[in-house]
Symmetry: C2
């Protein structure tokens, strides 16, 4: 996603709206601000995670594994849950395995499948990263009271419903 640095002013948007009468100025500016804040958040999250030698992809895999009672899952399930392709998941697991944070175990039933298991080192890594992440995120969001958080979630839900119209 682009890190738009120069969002259009209302003036610029009005000028564009003159040439393109379909433009809905407040829709465009809300949309662009949403994209920009989210991109900045994502970059900031990566910066925070990279202090622990992680990026969003590998971090998310560790969390998905920790969510499981057995601390174990398969590449294809992890890929679906993380929203990446299986090919990408293979690479993420390679990296995590090299760092000793997960391990590949051959599954008993289906010999095509592999089980990915969170190691003790992986759990220990999360026990360092998560408190740091939660502490920073709490700070980042502290200016929003519960009412605003609820409003935000409701608004995002409405936008989410509109996404198919954009495609």
């Amino acid at each position: 996603m682009l890190q738009l640095r120069d969002l259009p002013t209302t003036e610029v948007l009005d000028k564009f709206a003159e040439r393109y009468p379909d433009a809905d100025v407040s829709a465009v500016s809300s949309f662009l601000q949403l994209l920009r804040v989210a991109t900045d958040l994502s970059v900031a999250l990566d910066t925070c995670l990279s202090k622990h030698d992680l990026l969003q992809g590998r971090w998310w895999v560790l969390i998905l594994l920790m969510r499981e009672e057995s601390r174990t899952s398969t590449p294809s399930v992890l890929a679906d849950k993380a929203g990446v392709t299986r090919a990408t998941m293979t690479g993420l697991i390679d990296g995590l395995e090299q760092s000793g944070l997960v391990e590949r175990v051959f599954a008993k039933g289906d010999r095509r499948s592999v089980l990915i298991s969170l190691t003790d080192a992986g759990q220990a890594k999360l026990d360092v990263v998560m408190p740091d992440y939660y502490r920073r995120l709490r700070q980042c969001m502290q200016a929003l009271d519960e009412e605003k958080r609820t409003q935000l979630q409701q608004i995002l839900g409405l936008i989410n419903l509109g996404i198919p119209a954009l495609i």
Copy 2:
């Protein structure tokens, strides 16, 4: 940015909050939903643009050029405004030049510098893309009334102020 497909339920978040007492459940869920909706929007935007042989990077350059009275700018200024490095901008301009949508003109004053100019074909491309984009975006956001749009922008502004705390 990840396309998180499996956001944590409140249950999962509560379980994590037990182990990691710094977790602020509503902050985390708002944050993750924001990242997810924005990612989905960004992917949808690329899908829409790719019907016109564009992606966000090159599209944004065309828009930045159209904003200028002279329809002309320089790679370094464009890079700053688009939030990419100059190296990336070189590549974006290469692609646009090959498609005939912009042209490089040698600047008169400073011989290190190059002027990038929107061609007639580039303007014509925008005259097709922008109405399509605006029409779709209007649809996408139509469920939000002006009050909600204002709320959203205000909330995003607050989150934006908190970003430095995340880094």
